[in-house]
């Protein structure tokens, strides 16, 4: 069978994507695909989504020049796409608002979600509060420890937080738990996946809801400096903020796209979560992508200081961009990310999320190699309030 003959041609990005799920979920995925197709052709949906992004999320988020970080890096002009200023403090809300609207269209009353750093959990709980949907969030116990403030926020927003004690007790295990619950509740429940991962149509759906970041960035770059940027840098765990900002520029050959993965403690297996830098093709959580697995196909242990990047997989479209060479994926270590966390705070008055700090570190390195008349945009995907406790643990009291 050639790829052209496959039924879900839309669900494939080159050799990556697909729907590797137990049969129980297939009808729900078809239903989601159908609801989304209807929504896309319904002007009311677009209007409501756009209005909510403007009036509830606070879009458009600004593009802010970073003069002192530019000076520090000693090269290209650095600009910050301020997703940290979106409601709930990260880009995740763009997707959860869109999927909550679809949940309502499908007539489902209950929502589940997985979360690592807790930002997607908070954004899901927020959207559910706004639409009066029942919400349960699955979160690994290690992440509950690292991101306790977000656990409290979710509860405050009326969500139930289910602590997952399986495996590494992180994002991968929370995703397993959410998928298992969905298998049992699929008739009444929608699973709001938080990244561009999972079975078709999720990778396309989530990227589409996040693509507002890239569209705004394009307009804002032209307004601010009269042309498209030379580079765009974003952190990549599952890859939703990166897909959101990259997707609008894939066809612009002059715009270099750089994805920064979690390099953790180093390049040894188990010490990092740099899936595209070190991984190989395989299947995880419903799609074929590049994954970190052992030679038998068992999911590898991964490590990152950042709960949102601590994941052994990556969205299938990123895997495609990687093998096509369209996006350059690199790794930044825990230490480099923590240094960048402090750097952006001190130089620009923006405390980034630890996930985002990886992008800042990679961007500073890249900007230093560029000319002063060039422009680099960092997708400042989230703010670091949630990381204050963990950063204090890692850094001490800064006295």
């Amino acid at each position: 069978m050639t790829m052209k003959e496959t039924r879900h041609i839309d669900g494939w990005f080159g050799e990556f994507g697909g729907r590797y799920v137990p049969e129980t979920l297939v009808t729900a995925l078809d239903q989601l695909e159908e609801a989304w197709a209807e929504a896309k052709s319904d002007p009311e949906f677009e209007l409501e989504f756009t209005s909510l992004l403007r009036d509830y999320v606070g879009r458009a988020t600004p593009l802010t020049h970073a003069p002192r970080l530019t000076e520090h890096a000693g090269g290209a002009n650095i600009w910050l796409k301020r997703e940290d200023l979106a409601h709930t403090g990260a880009h995740k809300i763009n997707n959860t608002i869109g999927q909550a609207l679809l949940t309502r269209r499908m007539g489902k009353q209950r929502v589940i979600a997985e979360t690592g750093a807790g930002q997607h959990g908070v954004a899901t709980a927020t959207a559910c509060a706004r639409f009066g949907l029942e919400c349960e969030v699955y979160m690994g116990s290690e992440d509950v420890r690292r991101q306790s403030l977000n656990v409290f926020r979710m509860k405050l927003l009326g969500a139930k937080v289910n602590v997952v004690e399986d495996g590494s007790c992180t994002l991968k295990d929370a995703t397993n738990a959410a998928m298992r619950n969905w298998m049992e509740t699929v008739d009444t429940t929608h699973y709001i996946i938080g990244s561009v991962v999972g079975p078709h149509p999720f990778p396309t759906l989530v990227r589409t809801f996040q693509s507002v970041i890239g569209r705004e960035t394009r307009t804002q770059c032209i307004d601010c400096f009269g042309r498209l940027p030379d580079r765009i840098v974003a952190c990549v765990g599952g890859g939703s903020n990166a897909a959101g900002i990259f997707s609008d520029f894939i066809g612009d050959a002059g715009v270099g796209l750089i994805g920064i993965e979690a390099g953790g403690r180093g390049a040894r297996p188990g010490d990092h979560a740099s899936t595209l830098v070190h991984g190989e093709p395989g299947v995880l959580h419903g799609s074929r992508s590049i994954v970190l697995q052992d030679p038998d196909g068992q999911t590898s242990t991964v490590h990152s200081c950042s709960a949102g990047l601590d994941y052994p997989g990556v969205g299938p479209e990123h895997a495609h961009w990687h093998v096509e060479g369209r996006v350059d994926y690199r790794a930044v270590t825990d230490q480099e990310a923590i240094d960048a966390f402090c750097l952006l705070s001190e130089l620009e008055g923006c405390i980034p999320a630890l996930e985002t700090a990886h992008a800042v570190a990679g961007a500073v390195q890249e900007a230093g190699t560029m000319h002063r008349d060039q422009h680099l945009v960092i997708n400042l995907s989230g703010r670091g309030d949630k990381d204050a406790e963990e950063a204090r643990r890692l850094l001490g009291d800064l006295d």
Partner: protein, 244 residues
């Protein structure tokens, strides 16, 4: 059709169960190859897979075991294996290795239906069984895509949800009849089949009952897991009609 997790709690136990099964208790044995992230399995089987992996059991060990005792086992032997494992070493290579080891069939519960045609020629070349899952929610249109791609038997899910022990058995007859209208292959029913009584009810409509969690659970609470599994399988087989 009894299911046991291969290598739980160790590979010797699996060998003892395979060798100890009386042919009158079951025609086919299903061996689950342990996977780190089994999303279709409930807590009992998931925990058994994690325990097997922790003791170092890998697909290679399972193949080795099957190769060493295949000649002594009269029953059919099918492997239940995640697509993550199958795809990792290249699907064709994995299927050929399973066939060489002595497996008669494969169940890949999370395979993408659109990719099945790429592996069917290898399945057929080795004359293996290949069962796709049919769920209560599977539409008639999709059923028409699934059934022609099955070899040997159909794996019908008794319910939505995960593997596990349940007290109630839903009415499976409408599902069985829906499938029968479209295929002559035997229908095996699994997910939540937990007792001899369930087995008996299933066999009144379908051709085989698949029991996993109830067997694995009995092993977990026993000092002699192989004996416990065999006892449970024998007890479950009392649900088979005498002529079977």
């Amino acid at each position: 059709m009894p299911f046991v997790t291969a290598g739980y709690p160790d590979i010797e136990t699996t060998g003892a169960i395979l060798s100890g099964l009386d042919p009158s208790w079951a025609d086919i044995i299903e061996l689950g190859i342990p996977f780190s992230d089994p999303i279709a399995d409930g807590p009992i089987i998931a925990a058994s897979m994690h325990e097997a992996l922790q003791t170092g059991v890998r697909p290679g060990h399972v193949f080795e075991l099957v190769r060493s005792i295949r000649a002594d086992i009269p029953q059919g032997l099918v492997a239940m294996v995640s697509t993550s494992i199958v795809e990792r070493s290249g699907a064709v290579g994995f299927i050929e290795e399973a066939a060489r080891a002595g497996f008669d069939g494969l169940i890949i519960p999370d395979v993408d239906l659109d990719r099945v045609d790429e592996i069917l020629p290898t399945i057929d070349a080795h004359e293996m069984a290949f069962s796709l899952l049919v769920a209560p929610s599977t539409t008639d249109a999709r059923l028409e895509s699934i059934l022609p791609r099955c070899r040997g038997f159909i794996y019908m899910l008794a319910r939505a949800g995960l593997t596990g022990i349940r007290s109630e058995l839903p009415d499976i007859s409408p599902q069985v009849e829906r499938i029968r209208r479209l295929t002559d292959l035997p229908i095996a029913v699994g997910f939540g089949i937990s007792s001899a009584e369930h087995v008996s009810t299933v066999l009144a409509h379908a051709d085989a009952a698949i029991v996993g969690s109830a067997i694995v659970r009995s092993m977990g609470t026993s000092d002699d897991p192989a004996a416990a599994a065999l006892d449970t399988i024998r007890a479950l087989s009392s649900g088979r009609p005498p002529t079977a």
